[in-house]
Amino acid sequence: MTRNTDTGDDSGDAVADGGVAEGGQRSGFSPIAALNERFGSDFVESSQFWLPPFLLVGLFVYGAIIWNLLISLTDFRGFGTPDYGDLDLQMYSRALADSGFIDAAINTFILLVGFTLVTLALGLGLAILIDRNIRFENTFRTIYLLPMSLSFVVTAQFWAWMFNFNNGVINIVITSLGLGRVDWIGNPDIVLWAVMFALMWQFAGYAMVVFLAGLRAIPNEHYEAAKVDGASTVRMYWRVIIPQLKGSTISASVVLMVFALKAFDFLYSLVGGYRPPNGADILATKMVREAYANLNWAYASAVAITLFLMTLGIVGPYLYYQYNRGNL
């Protein structure tokens, strides 16, 4: 930090000099003035604020992604160093031939879509309930959002117990309803939905908060106008209010999908290991497993790039949408 501030001081001085240089602009050339001319009057002076963070992010995020792409083109595995001299798409063709990868990709997709949909639906329901001018609104909202503050690791513990075959709350409840026990975590056909359910528990509060903000942004007059226009409460929500939540829905969906892509922590903690329960392998867990359990670095990088492209597919249009709406 100290060093950082020092740099700040230096460039501060530089700017003061820049001022002088500007005065003499007509006589000579000043690089600072030239930069400012091109990028805007405060470009140089403000860079002391945004440039260091920007470089940090640029290096660690975007530099790393490019590096990752490079590694995914090598055959790097085991111990040693990647050989950047020999780049090809072998790892990607391997992925396409790997049924585990295909399964993980399909699971990722199902999780993405399923989780997002159910969470949005529940979140919207909660938001509407909360928004009905209730008493103790803050208490309800706080509790609904509570799981969001917990670590994936913690919620995994809770849900491992909830889904426990013999003594979990869920099986207790369904047996008390006269149904047979279900092996939530063990059955590969069910486990993904069970995970989805647990994640929904954790993030429905988030969707609620976003929708609530959306609901509150709709002027009271719209509710009243719909009433005066003769609509019942249900019709009012269906025709007038919910269609106006498009923006909230989009931003909540994007964030939820990104959460789903990151569900690694949850799956890892559920079993305490790199291999999630059968049927719940997703690209995020596969990537980490290939890298850190199997040392297939290049292959893991290729999986990671696939995951990244999936994210980009979601976030890219979102960024574009935000840009068009002038939010960037």
Binding site: G186, N187, P188, R275, P277, N278
Partner: protein, 406 residues
Amino acid sequence: SGGGDGSDGSDGGDGGGNTLEVLHAWTGGDGARAAEALVSAFDEEYPDVDHEFNPIGGGGNQNLDAVVANRLQNSDPPSSFANWPGPNLQRYEGVLGEVGDVWESEGFEDVMVEEAVDLHQYDGAYRGVPLGSHRLNCLFYNTSVVEEAGVDPDSLTSVSALIDALETVQSETDAIPMTHGASGTWTTTQLFASTMLGQEGYDAYMSFIDGSPDEAAVRATFESLAEILGNYINDDASSIGLTESNQNIIEGNAAFIHQGNWAAGAYRNAEDFAYDEDWGFKTYPGSEGMYMLHFDSFLYPSDNPSPDATEQFMAFVGSEAAQVAFNQYKGSIPTRTDVDMSQFGPYLQETQEDFASADERPPNLQHGLGVPSETMTTLNDVISSEFSGPYNVDAATEGFVDAVSN
């Protein structure tokens, strides 16, 4: 550099250059106690060696493997780490040193079982020293449950006999015929190995491991497995692990379990649960006279941070003192053939006798001795995707055959 010593031994804080750093995964239960016994025996033998024994917990051996891999990757190797010899050594290609002089000076080649001699060599050099051995083709049972069902375990000498017995248990009692903990795939892979050995015989098993599988044998094995797993195991098999599964035997909820003989460790610790009275052991049906081999060994990384101390440690690991100290707690047996077994319990004594007198000692499939780790991963992936209910015999067969074929 995921935590660990300075890489070149000269910069480590507390003179780490000479500190012996040993990584293993025995973090709980018998393992922890055995590791403790090992350490104190080591202290007794080599009081001057600075050492640091680091148990790496979590996920069975997975975490240990990951940590070791990472440190080797970062050229920051520990002095030694616990692992399996055999084809498993392939994955440490290029980062293991040689301990041939230890073998020579200690005369290990003469006292270790011959399989140990073979399996600890890679690329023509010794890479580690064995500490103990578990047996894998075991079938344990709860005496009272099998009695209630009217089944005589000793009479089960083929897989089909086993299946019949399971059927009997199913119809005669409320107990689970065979308990299975399949939350990890490894138990099923391991069951495959024992079943194949028992049903298809030694040669079929060995050619499978050696990369020239007989598809019909593999298919037949999977068919039997499908029958067992599809009909006779516990409902919650897929969500529990070995420990809970084994608990079913102890609590009298199940008749049989197939496991390595580490399962017996839990019986020893359970109250009022005595060998031969409450629980019994039977070689996995059909594999009588065979001892499916397993080794716990310590490997020697090259670029060793404490070469001298490590060599001392290696010599110690192969010594009688170490093997007795460790194995009696671990529930395994020494890999030396010249050990006095009097300190071991009756079950281990029997195991040692079987070991010594076995006709064949086929290497295990799941624990490193049979196939390289990469193949093992693939086998487990096949189990995971095709054979964890519903049981797809065709796909599993194809997957296994492809995985081992070379």
